[in-house]
C-alpha cells in the first residue's frame, strides 16, 4: 500500500528540505520505490540538496499543465535504485498549481510508487495548501526554538482543520550540551508543548552541511544525523525503534550508578 507524506513546518529554515531528502533516500535504501516532489514553486531547493540539479529537463508545473508526461519529468537517482525526483519550477510562482491538480498528480503517482514525499514550502498560503492537498499523513519539522514551535503549533492546527490523517513531529537541530545546561528545550519539552506524536529527534550535526555541500543525503552514513534519519525511516515502515537520545542514556546510567552507590 502506498502512502503520500507531506513534510511541512510553517517556519522556513528548520530543515524541511533536508528531512525530505533524507527520508526519501532512506526509504529507497530500505528497498521502497520513492518519488520526492519539490512543491516550493519559485524557490527550487530539493534538486540541489539531492545533487540532481544538472539533470532537470521538465518540472512540476510542466507536468500539471500537461506540457510533458509524468515519466518525462521524473529524474531517476542513479545512486539509489527506486528513488525519483520531480523538481519544482524556478520561474513561476505558487499560483501556477492548484490543490485539485496536486491531488490528481499524487493519485497518479500513488499507483507507481510505494512512497510519495512532498517537500512543502514555508508559510501557510497557496503553496502549503497545494502541498497538503493529496497527502495521507504529515511530518511536521521543528527546532527547539520559540518561533519554530509557535509556527509548528499553528501548522498542526491547520492540518487538523484540513483533516490530515496522521500528524507526526520531527524535532531537528537539538544540541545536547545546551539542553544539559538548561539553555535549550529538550525533545520532551517540545512534545509536551505541542502534544503530538513524536516520529524522531535529530541532533545538530555539522555533517548535514557537509553532505549538502556534496549534494549527497547522509542517511546511510555513520553519522549521528544519518542514524537518526534512518531510525525515522524505519518508524515510517512501522518498526518500533527506540529514540536515539544521549542525555537519556546518561540519565539511566546515572540511576544505575546511584543504585550501586546505595548498596
Amino acid at each position: 500500500m502506498s502512502e503520500v507524506i507531506v513534510v511541512t513546518s510553517g517556519k522556513g529554515g528548520v530543515g524541511k528540505t533536508t528531512t525530505s531528502a533524507n527520508i526519501g533516500t532512506g526509504l529507497a535504501v530500505l528497498g521502497k520505490t520513492v518519488v520526492l516532489i519539490d512543491t516550493d514553486i519559485g524557490l527550487r531547493n530539493l534538486d540541489v540538496v539531492m545533487g540532481l540539479e544538472n539533470r532537470i529537463v521538465y518540472n512540476l508545473v510542466d507536468v500539471v499543465e500537461g506540457n510533458c508526461r509524468i515519466k518525462q519529468a521524473l529524474i531517476k537517482d542513479k545512486r539509489f535504485p527506486g528513488l525519483h525526483l520531480i523538481p519544482s519550477a524556478q520561474t513561476r510562482d505558487k499560483t501556477a498549481v492548484n490543490p485539485e491538480q496536486m491531488k490528481k498528480l499524487t493519485e497518479q503517482l500513488r499507483e507507481q510508487f510505494d512512497y510519495v514525499i512532498l517537500d512543502c514550502p514555508a508559510g501557510i498560503e497557496q503553496g502549503f495548501k497545494n502541498a497538503i492537498a493529496g497527502a495521507d499523513r504529515a511530518i511536521v519539522v521543528t527546532t527547539p526554538e520559540v518561533s519554530a514551535i509557535r509556527d509548528a503549533d499553528r501548522i498542526i492546527g491547520l492540518l487538523n482543520a484540513y483533516e490530515m490523517g496522521q500528524i507526526d513531529l520531527v524535532v531537528n537541530r537539538l544540541r545536547p550540551d545546551m539542553i544539559k545546561r538548561g539553555d535549550m528545550m529538550s525533545v520532551d519539552d517540545v512534545v509536551d508543548i505541542l502534544s503530538v506524536h513524536l516520529l524522531g529527534a535529530i541532533y545538530d550535526d555539522e555533517n548535514i552541511v557537509i553532505s549538502t555541500n556534496h549534494g549527497e543525503p547522509l542517511v546511510c552514513s555513520d553519522t549521528p544525523a544519518g542514524k537518526a534519519f534512518m531510525n525515522i525511516c524505519n518508524r515510517i515502515l512501522g518498526q518500533d525503534v527506540p529514540l536515539y537520545s544521549p542525555e537519556r542514556e546518561k540519565s539511566i546510567w546515572f540511576r544505575i550508578n546511584g543504585i550501586f552507590q546505595k548498596l
Partner: protein, 71 residues
C-alpha cells in the same frame, strides 16, 4: 524549599517553555494578550467580591491543567 525555588535563577529553556505555553494558548483560542489581561482583571474583581485580597499583588497564571493563584 519554596524560598530556594524563588531565589534560583530560571534557566532560559524554562523561560522559553513558560512563554510558549501562554503564547500557544492565546494563539489557539485566538485571544490577544490584552484580552487575557482583561480576563485576569475581571477574575480579580469577582474574587474581591467574596474575599479580601490585595489586587495590586495578585498574580494569575493560566495553564492547560490548572489555574494557580499567588498573592
Amino acid at each position: 524549599m519554596g524560598k530556594l525555588w524563588l531565589f534560583r535563577k530560571k534557566k532560559s529553556s524554562e523561560i522559553a517553555k513558560d512563554r510558549l505555553k501562554i503564547l500557544l494558548i492565546s494563539d489557539r483560542i485566538d485571544c490577544s494578550p490584552e484580552v487575557m489581561e482583561m480576563i485576569k482583571r475581571d477574575i480579580a474583581k469577582i474574587l474581591c467580591k467574596y474575599m479580601q485580597i490585595d489586587t495590586s499583588t495578585l498574580e494569575l497564571e493560566f495553564s492547560r491543567r490548572k489555574i494557580n493563584v499567588f498573592w
